[in-house]
Amino acid sequence: MKRAAWFLVVLLALGLAAIASNPVKITFWTHEDPNRTPLEEEYIRRFQALYPHVTIERVTYPSARIAEVLLTAFAAGKGPDMFNLEVNDAYPYLVMGRVAPLRPEWVGYASVDSILGAYLEGTLDPVYREGKLYGLPLELTIWSVFVNKKYFREVGLDPDTDYPRTWEQMMEVSEKLVIREGDIIKRRGFDFRYGYYVEWLLAMVEQLGGAFLSPDGQTAVIGDEAWLQVLRYMQQWGPLGKNLGSPTYTPARKLFNYDRNEVTMCLTGFYQIARIRTENPAFYESGEWMVIPFPVFENAVTDVASHYYGHYYMVNAQSSLETQEWTWRFIAYMLSHPEEYLTRVGLIQPRKDLLASDVYAAQPYGDVFASDMARSSLVQLHVANPEFKQLLDEAVKAVMLQGVTPEAALATLRTKANEVLAEYK
């Protein structure tokens, strides 16, 4: 009922705006997502039918390349009217004034505060700055652990009781699950999601009381013991330690859906469920997979799950005010279908009404994600986060692959990270 009322408000707002009608052309760049494309193209058709003076051109890029293409375009002053990026990559655009704030009335709200109130606490923080809102979330998820139950049983484990709750257990279980030929791994127990260190590696460090940035954002790499324990763990995980996985194997989450006896567990987001369904319906139906919470260390001081991973739709500050307005209206129109995004693409908009809905409750393992989200937080954003990601990558690969000691890797990480920080002071 409440949702229906909200929908009406949006429609009304959109209707009033249609009176002024110079032709408006909106370019919209986004990353490739096979499940999302047909849905959004349908929204574009409908929106254009409602407002014939608006034309929308939707362009998709490989997700490994979109950051680069957007940067080039923005650097040249030719950015698209709207785009979405992973929040750590998007943050510099906000800080550098390249994205435009929305006006609440454009998207059918009375005030910015009422928008904040409609979303889960803190989930709009990354796009909120000095009383203005610069983005709306397309999706927000956390990484939880997906499990293939069959292989647990195969090695004599009961998936429902023996699943790993701690990182120490994760290593033990993985040692039982791994199949190798000599040094070469044919089936991994679990493997990390390398590259996305901000989400999981930092969470592991924080579990032990460490942090990447001090609360004031002035110093990098806090808490030696925590960092060293995590780096030692990674070293043990890699080919120079217990040889359980490595960044050079195919990402575990990509293999998981195929159920080909190559990975047992992987770290991934909620949307994986929808991808299992489209890529391997038989596996989806078999019920041989499940989702378990993000593990913690035995000696953890805080129980945190992986950080949020989120994409926000943003609008180019260089577009004309009229285009900005229509772009925000279009974004609001698309996002006013949270249930379809959820059921068809597996994207969670962190809206209170959605998370309280029956549709969400009916999602398999929605409860696991909801509880992990409750013990999750947003990573501390910094304009240099894209570079910090690279430094974390360097540190992890140094200990896992290159035989650098955790102490040395940590020292390098600290020096480089603080150098970068100094440049932004």
């Binding site: 080039t72 040249a76 002053g77 030719k78």
Partner: protein
């Protein structure tokens, strides 16, 4: 004597065997990956990373090829992107060949003030890494309104310094007498260029054409920046988009790779004698 001959023959047989062995290793190194590509394209994904790898596929997994052409979204952009690639690469090749020959001829056969400076400039241009010019080039091209158009894909590559350099080196060896004879016969400079220089530069032109076509067929970064719509994109983008979500389906990935290589294979075998014959021009380097 006979014994010594036998020893020598034995030794040379050994040497020959050694040479063939080395050659065998090199051939495996060169052809192995290609054979791998073709065989893997015929296999279901599981088989591609099997230990040991089966070099002879068990049956023909044609679904890979269907998947490659159909695309992940089932919209068959493969054909359109292939046509785009062919059109863009062909146009660039034609213009490069024509402009390089004209400029190379001007540099090789005319003495004019500033010639050395021009030559230096062109040699320097050969060395510019693409990363250096990427953003300014993007600004220029988009300012000219060529975003997401064939013009945007083609215009920045109309001619390249290597082509000019190559044609100049070739034309240096072109006999002056023939040009002078044509002049005495009253031919204008443009006529000489068109009737004498072009026809007799065929081997060099063919080589340049093949090299240009090849490098354009390969171009990824630029089309990615300039061609936004799926309708405008080229084959290298198609492959990266395909690999995006389907890289785990290694078989289908390799099928895409095989299909994307087909035009080059045809060109390569069709014009193979120019690869070989055209390269002769490098031996006639002395200017």
């Amino acid at each position: 004597m006979r014994q010594r001959n036998a020893v020598r023959r034995g030794r040379s047989a050994l040497a020959t065997a050694g040479v063939w062995l080395v050659l065998g290793v090199v051939l495996v190194y060169i052809l192995g990956p290609l054979v791998f590509m073709v065989t893997a394209s015929l296999m279901p994904a599981m088989e591609v990373t099997r230990i040991p790898y089966r070099w002879i596929p068990q049956g023909f997994h044609w679904q890979n090829y269907w998947q490659a052409i159909r695309g992940n979204d089932g919209r068959f952009f493969f054909v359109r992107n292939m046509v785009n690639s062919l059109f863009v690469a062909t146009t660039i090749t034609l213009s490069t060949v024509v402009l390089s020959t004209i400029t190379g001829y001007g540099l090789a056969k005319f003495r004019f003030r500033g010639r050395k400076a021009v030559m230096l400039l062109i040699v320097a241009t050969m060395m510019i890494p693409f990363q250096v010019v990427m953003i300014p080039l993007y600004i220029i091209t988009t300012s000219l309104g060529m975003q997401n158009s064939y013009a945007g894909l083609i215009v920045p590559f109309l001619v390249n310094a290597f082509g000019v350099f190559l044609m100049r080196q070739y034309l240096l060896t072109f006999p002056d007498d023939i040009l002078d004879a044509a002049r005495i016969d009253g031919a204008s400079e443009v006529q000489i260029l068109w009737r004498v220089v072009f026809p007799s530069s065929w081997p060099a032109i063919a080589t340049l054409a093949i090299l240009t076509f090849r490098s354009q067929w390969d171009n990824l970064i630029w089309p990615l920046l300039i061609a936004q719509s799926r309708e405008m994109q080229t084959i290298p983008i198609y492959i990266t988009l395909f690999a995006e979500e389907k890289f785990t389906d290694e078989g289908a990935m390799m099928a895409t790779a095989v299909l994307a290589s087909l035009p080059m294979v045809l060109l390569f075998f069709g014009l193979s004698r120019y690869f070989v014959g055209g390269a002769q021009l490098f031996s006639a380097q002395k200017g």
